[in-house]
Symmetry: C2
Subunit: 383 residues, 2 copies
């Protein structure tokens, strides 16, 4: 049996870093993890308690494909509270993480061979999922001056879709309402579907993130319990689609997933009531971000766009190296700090960039920054 052409997805370069970090730890070294894109905190206590109770009371069989009605209702009401958008729960579909939502969205919107544009740098799995579905990813180069977000002028004409993330991974930068509106308009002018990745909403450090639903109903909005709700491993997220798409996405979900994990849905519903614990997590990220902005600069990483949200900082290190993969390996070996080479996010210019995550504890951030500064001094990059 031979493998298909579309199964040839690119490797994650960060996996090399993670494996090297694991080997170093196995040898007894202490490594600071700035490569990992997930909170160190567990799901909120209330979420875990709710699941323990449900496991005693309920068989937790399949849910309907669209998700637990109470969870869909609660998610819909979030759009009223956060964005002032009146959203019908009928348009909310609970998914197996944002990964499941992307699979459903891309299948619902695009046929084999179609072209879908995305900003570079960007979340690498967009491109790989598109490829697995026999779709063609079209890179839109972005600029530091535009805070690494696409602008309408750079959008190709012959595309069937556009994916935009705000806050973005790997940069943490956001689009304000005019910028997001102009991209939605530019996609519409090209007859392209618009997919808005909003999985880092709730993790914001200044102004609030804008949802595409504040601008139009004619989009697919994708969100997740992984980041703000600190539930990465639970694989539960959601999408909001136009009323006219619900029945189609429902049928796809029935067949491709049956349902999102029932236990995770129960936990997610309860997590939405745990505002205090979640806000405390955000305060840690906020403090970490401030430390990072100051500490990275002191360490000589000064070509960055300050992040509005998420828990990443993307640094242009092209003045220091033309091989970010090797540079990250050096930082790991010499400084004991794991960071992600930019090549995972941008095949082109990523050879000159690094992503630093600040999702872990503040003590780790302080120690990591200290190590990075010493490393950069030892290399003669700072005094």
């Amino acid at each position: 049996m031979s493998l298909s052409r579309r199964s040839k997805v690119d490797p994650f370069i960060v996996m090399d870093v993670m494996e090297a970090a694991a080997r170093a730890e196995a040898e007894g070294r202490h490594i600071i993890h700035m490569e990992v894109g997930q909170p160190g905190t567990p799901a909120p206590a209330g979420a875990r308690a709710a699941l323990t109770k449900a496991m005693a009371d309920d068989a937790l069989g399949y849910t309907v494909a669209l998700g637990l009605p109470a969870l869909r209702q609660k998610i819909a009401s979030l759009y009223g509270e956060r964005y002032g958008v009146d959203l019908s729960p009928d348009r909310v579909i609970v998914t197996a993480g944002s990964s499941g939502a992307f699979l459903l969205s891309f299948t619902a919107l695009f046929d084999a061979g179609e072209r879908v544009a995305l900003g570079a740098p960007g979340y690498p799995s967009y491109r790989q999922i598109l490829g697995a579905l026999s779709l063609q990813a079209v890179d839109i180069p972005t600029r530091l001056e535009d805070r690494f977000q696409p602008v309408p002028e750079t959008l190709p004409d012959d595309i069937q879709g556009l994916i935009v993330a705000s806050p973005a991974n790997p940069t943490g930068t956001m689009l304000d309402k005019p910028a997001l509106s102009s991209l939605i308009r530019a996609a519409s002018e090209r007859g392209a579907a618009f997919v808005s990745d909003e999985i880092y909403h709730g993790l914001e450090y200044g102004r609030r993130a804008v949802s595409a639903l504040q601008i139009t109903d004619d989009v697919h909005v994708i969100n997740s319990f992984s980041k703000y709700y600190s539930m990465t491993g639970w694989r539960v997220g959601w999408m909001v689609v136009p009323e006219s798409h619900v029945r189609t996405v429902e049928r796809l979900a029935q067949n491709m997933f049956i349902c999102a994990p029932h236990a995770s849905q129960v936990a997610a519903l309860a997590a939405m009531e745990c505002k205090d614990e979640l806000d405390a997590n955000v305060q840690v990220y906020r403090r970490n971000r401030d430390l990072m902005l100051e500490g990275l600069k002191e360490a000589g990483f000064d070509r960055i766009a300050p992040p509005d949200g998420a828990f990443y900082i993307y640094a242009d290190v092209s003045a220091l190296t033309d091989d970010s993969h090797r540079f990250a390996a050096d930082i790991l070996e010499k400084a004991g700090v794991a960071v992600t080479p930019g090549l995972d996010f941008d095949k082109g210019r990523g050879a000159g960039t690094l992503r630093f995550s600040y999702a872990r504890s503040t003590a780790d951030i302080e120690e990591g920054l200290d190590r990075l500064r010493k490393f950069m001094i030892s290399r003669g990059f700072v005094e």
Copy 2:
């Protein structure tokens, strides 16, 4: 935004039955559920206890894409115990249910436009997942005399894949080792990949089910914790692939799923130690099956292939109706028993078939059979 062509999947007709049953129950009627393909029992007590403990001790973040190493090891050892097959855990990939495994397998094996054969009747989602991935499902008609399983002579030449299930849904029939071997050989002669759906293994009432891994390593074997382990809603399953496919499927899984739900993996690992509870469930199914074989015959449903496994019986009712959808609706309305019209499993001859599930309690089965017999008497089909 318009929907893609490949998103136009067929509706599940059983959903109409389930909705009508739910309406009847809302009106105060008591309905016996023989339509649902899932156990009424929860995950084993040991599985739930293990998760409660893990939620206290562990953040339950992402696992590696291939799954928890201990779970892969335990699954590999199952092949030694059950089938006498020495299997490396490296070849085991934990997935988001068998649904996740099918998505990964079909993506890894087939490119857009390729043709994949499957027996009719069969599990409807195969066809829909293939369509969603821009693949073409090719029906192989089967015969009651062959116990509704495909035979090599009926296999088309120009196919790139073949999916076989044993025990099968909707029939519960199994392939013995010679029959399975001949299908694997027939696929190989056509250059077609072979996918073996083994999700009902462990639910057998006479001889043991044969795994394709007893015959060759050059297959994709798909299994699940949903049925034997009574964990439908947990969305955790696994696949076994040739050594040379592991790295590719791993990369696809990293991008398409990140990982199977961590909590479900923890529960699944513990479920594998709960043999007594699981065997007790099988004894209930065995008793239900015996009651069904006798009771359906008494009720005039006598054109059936006795099931070797799973918890379904498929009946040819073409002498009684040429509209199984309407017939099922009548049975629900008049007898208060929900059953699945065969059209979901076989677009052609399914107009003359029904599927009965016996996964629920024995008391329900007895009551359901009594109602079915009275209904058939009232219709003059039996005396």
